[in-house]
């Protein structure tokens, strides 16, 4: 943790514990006195919100696992009949869990885009950012495994399509990809064995995520928080203690977040899910339009934009791998987009690009738009979007750092926040 510990045991028992296992000291230093920049805005409250989401998913998930039956003949019934109708409050627990997944991703996307906007990935926070990418990928894997469990049509065919990504390796070494797919399935197709192992992994991964979150917070507490100005903390005048300032701020925005969460759970629990998943899995019929959950749509659009299997899968994998390199792709001296007039515009264009890709990912493969009397196949827009996704990170980020002149940075956080009073 940054700086020497300020913990003073207040009782004999506390002192006894502190000399044997300094856990109270750790909690005190990380959650009470931790010096935090005084200018953090609403977008910095999503770290706490994400921790809350992980907790909600683990608690509701453990309870749901008590009623779920991981068997291809019984899974759908155990969810739609058992949990949704028979188990006391089962409907509530399941809707919290399924809506919770979406809320988790809403929060993580805000968190990621906040990091991109304020340059939170830049030195000395590279490992902090990479751990975040690891958590994000683990989240996607966990969500995917969880989506398979109700064993509806989308569960089954989603599992089929995603696991078939590996069969693309056949194009590098013949039969390797098929061998991997068969190994993942435990059969010649997605089936009972697949469901069982996905259940096991779905139960395991959240605890791995919790472990990586621990590392993420550890890596955060070495350099401390970045802030909207993107300049370093220069002294105690730039910070406030985490408690009560940010515990209160985090709690307030958490309440607003939970309001939205509860609104979805109680009034629109199926808004973000696909009605086809209320049809039991049928290995002999693919639904006419299979789409992943909303949070994976931009990546799905990139996959579909490539008319070649192996390259499509590589483009998809590369779009995630790219995130790891961002700390070194951004060559600018200024962290925050607040002082980068050009980067700010490219950033918002990138955000719009992700939304566009997400929209295209939800449409059928051969859909098109009519723009000014011209028929534009959406796959071409997806290609443009994919190009910009890669271009933003691999061309614009490194070049802009060289050619853009950032606006002058303020002297200190305190001066920027308090003006002359800081003198």
């Amino acid at each position: 943790m940054s700086g020497p510990s300020t913990y003073v045991p207040k009782s004999g028992i506390a002192r006894w514990i502190d000399t044997r296992l300094p856990l109270p000291r750790l909690m005190h230093d990380t959650m009470m006195t931790f010096p935090t920049p005084r200018n953090l805005n609403i977008w910095y409250t999503f770290g706490g919100i994400l921790t809350f989401c992980l907790g909600v998913q683990i608690v509701t998930g453990i309870v749901l696992a008590m009623h779920f039956v991981p068997n291809a003949n019984m899974a759908f019934d155990s969810v739609e009949n058992g949990i949704m109708r028979d188990v006391n409050y089962g409907w509530l627990l399941r809707y919290i869990h399924s809506t919770g997944a979406s809320m988790f991703f809403i929060a993580v996307y805000v968190h990621i885009f906040r990091g991109l906007y304020y340059g939170s990935y830049k030195a000395p926070r590279e490992l902090l950012w990479i751990l975040g990418v690891v958590i994000y990928i683990l989240m996607m894997a966990t969500a995917f495994f969880g989506y398979v469990l109700p064993w509806g049509q989308m569960s089954f065919w989603g599992a089929t399509v995603i696991t078939n990504f590996f069969s693309a390796l056949d194009q590098i070494i013949p039969h390797l990809g098929t061998a991997i797919s068969t190994w993942l399935w435990g059969g010649f197709a997605v089936g009972d064995a697949t469901l069982n192992r996905f259940f096991s992994l779905h139960y395991l991964l959240p605890f791995i995520i919790a472990g990586v979150v621990g590392l993420h917070i550890w890596a955060l507490h070495v350099p401390g928080n970045n802030n909207p100005l993107g300049i370093d903390v220069k002294g105690p005048q730039d910070t406030v203690p985490f408690h009560p300032y940010y515990t209160a701020k985090d709690a307030f925005y958490l309440c607003l977040f939970v309001l939205l969460f509860a609104g979805l759970v109680f009034y629109a629990p199926n808004l973000l899910s696909n009605p086809d998943n209320y049809t039991p899995a049928n290995p002999l019929v693919t639904p006419p339009d299979i789409v992943p959950e909303w949070y994976l749509l931009p990546f799905y659009a990139m996959l579909r934009s490539v008319p070649q299997k192996l390259i499509g899968v590589l483009v998809l994998a590369g779009s995630l791998l790219t995130l790891v390199f961002i700390p070194w792709l951004d060559t600018s001296k200024a962290r925050s987009c607040r002082f980068r007039p050009l980067m700010k515009q490219f950033f918002w264009l990138f955000a719009a690009d992700c939304v566009l890709l997400g929209y295209i990912g939800a449409q059928s493969a051969d859909a098109s738009w009519t723009l000014g009397g011209v028929n534009v196949p959406l796959v071409w827009l997806a290609r443009l979007g994919t190009l910009y996704y890669y271009g933003f990170f691999w061309a614009i980020m490194p070049l802009l750092g060289i050619f853009e002149t950032p606006k002058p940075l303020p002297d200190s956080i305190a001066k920027s926040v308090l003006g002359a009073a800081a003198e």
Binding site: W157, T160, T163, N164, F165, G186, A189, A193, D289, K309
Partner: protein, 189 residues
């Protein structure tokens, strides 16, 4: 403990390397059961072949059987569909290999190499892109431009011999090992 450096390998060096090797091999051996348990069980592998009665299949119709958890297409082709498939030049095929389990691996993807009897096309109904089930094309409800199948997931199109013609799928639809037990009875697998 005092350590001495000697240019010659010592007994200690030998023990160090030997122990490390045994530990590494032991770890690999111990890991294998944990990896191999994921592979199909003997019960799954024992899934025997199926027999299919095709006496009721009308000309131009496709019926679907279930084989090893996958759909199995049996399509009774019209003379027009056969002629279309035979008219295609090999150079126009993205995948020039027959993918027929009853023929050598390198058999060319001519229409004749895709079936046993021209009228009967027997295929594993799994798109070779990402595993969706393609929709059959009929004159009443055409799917794609090649008269065979269209996969709605990502837009791959197959012709009337089940060969990939357009879209992201890399291979022709697979022809399973099968034989005719009688003119109206198939054995698959």
């Amino acid at each position: 403990m005092a350590t001495t450096t000697s240019p010659e390998p010592t007994r200690r060096d030998f023990l160090y390397i030997a122990t490390g090797t045994v530990a590494a091999v032991g770890a690999a051996l111990a890991a294998w059961p944990f990896i191999d348990q994921m592979n199909p069980t003997s019960a799954v592998l024992a899934l025997a072949s199926i027999e299919a009665d095709i006496s009721q299949v009308a000309l131009g119709q496709q019926v679907v059987f279930s084989w090893r958890g996958h759909p199995l297409f049996v399509r009774r082709r019209t003379p027009k569909e056969i002629a279309e498939a035979r008219a295609v030049s090999l150079a126009d095929l993205p995948d020039p290999v027959a993918r027929n389990a009853n023929l050598p691996d390198d058999a060319p993807a001519t229409d004749a190499n895709r079936e046993i009897k021209p009228e009967w096309l027997v295929l594993v109904g799994v798109c070779t892109h990402l595993g969706c089930i393609p929709t059959v094309s009929t004159p009443q409800s055409p799917q794609g431009d090649y008269g065979g199948w269209l996969c709605h997931c990502h837009g791959s199109q197959y012709d009337t011999a089940g060969r990939i013609r357009k879209g992201p799928a890399p291979q022709n639809l697979a022809v399973p090992p099968y034989s005719f037990l009688s003119p109206t009875r198939l054995k698959i697998g």
